[in-house]
Symmetry: C2
DNA sequence: GTTGAAACACTGTTCGT
DNA sequence: ACGAACAGTGTTTCAAC
């Protein structure tokens, strides 16, 4: 059941990520399969959890939330954000990642205005040392999950440390 | 045409972000409107660019790309990543943001394995000073674009600096 | 995995309020 | 301008090969 994806699966994933409303008919034509066959593959991708759902893509800026920032948080002892708050308290926080390295987490936030960001950072700052980075512009985003190139990419060896 | 979104629009956006395959019939029922009325609103949201499309959500880990990292890049003069490379050369890079502050850009990357990441960072490192943060786990992600709370959030004043 | 058929559901339009 | 019904079309899903 955890068998890897073949190239037709990747083709299906690419098409569905580009247009999640494709019918099995059209999708089947694009991947050169019949509708029932493609329906069965999609069903398997959904049940195995590779496809988690379908959603509309919304332009946050056009919707009135033009500001994005990344916030690195180094949690203070006993006031870790993850253990002391909920997602509902911080609707501006769109992502929370635990990190290796000197900050324990990386937050992504989205706000309507600079005062809004200022207030948010003040509320976040109570939970530890903060390092915020305002996004001036987003050059590239929303790339589809693609099949990784299976070519082995050799890393330059450090001759002085190899034996 | 750039008129702001009312609460029904936000309700529609919430439903469509949760399930992009909702028919106008079901959607209309959920927002207490008729199908033609809701179809017209969705059409406007699409044409005004608030809704940019519909797509399948794919679990990158389940698809064989379990590693994510953030990379802050401080471009070296004359070898800025954005001006000297293309998206095709770096399929692992899923986002590129220009930043304020000491690093000129924040990259988000997604790879299949640690050697894969190592090779990628070596290739990226040629374009400037790098600061990478490996994501250990993602606690929260994919939050829908929501209506911002319009309550003004007053920021604590700094009494010593106000007049 | 493919083809064909039948039932179903959806969309877009038209009309009435 | 909104809501309701109708007709046409496209889709899904089953069967058999």
């Amino acid at each position: 059941m955890d068998r890897s994806l073949d190239s037709i699966d990747w083709h299906i994933l690419a098409e569905l990520q580009r247009d999640g409303r494709l019918s099995y008919n059209r999708l089947a034509r694009r991947v050169n399969l019949s509708a029932p066959a493609v329906a069965e593959r999609v069903r398997r991708l959904e049940e195995s959890g590779v496809i988690t759902g379908y959603g509309a893509r919304v332009d946050a800026t056009k919707a009135g939330l033009p500001l994005t920032a990344f916030v690195q948080l180094r949690c203070a002892l006993g006031s870790c954000l993850l253990k002391n708050t909920t997602a509902e308290e911080f609707p501006e926080v769109t992502e929370v990642h635990k990190l290796s390295g000197d900050s324990c987490s990386m937050l992504r936030v989205r706000v309507a205005s600079m005062p809004h960001l200022e207030g948010l950072l003040e509320r976040l700052g109570r939970h530890g040392e903060m390092n915020s980075h305002i996004v001036l512009s987003t050059q590239y985003e929303g790339r589809a999950v693609e099949r990784p190139a299976d070519e082995t990419r050799p890393v330059t060896g450090s001759s002085g440390w190899s034996r």
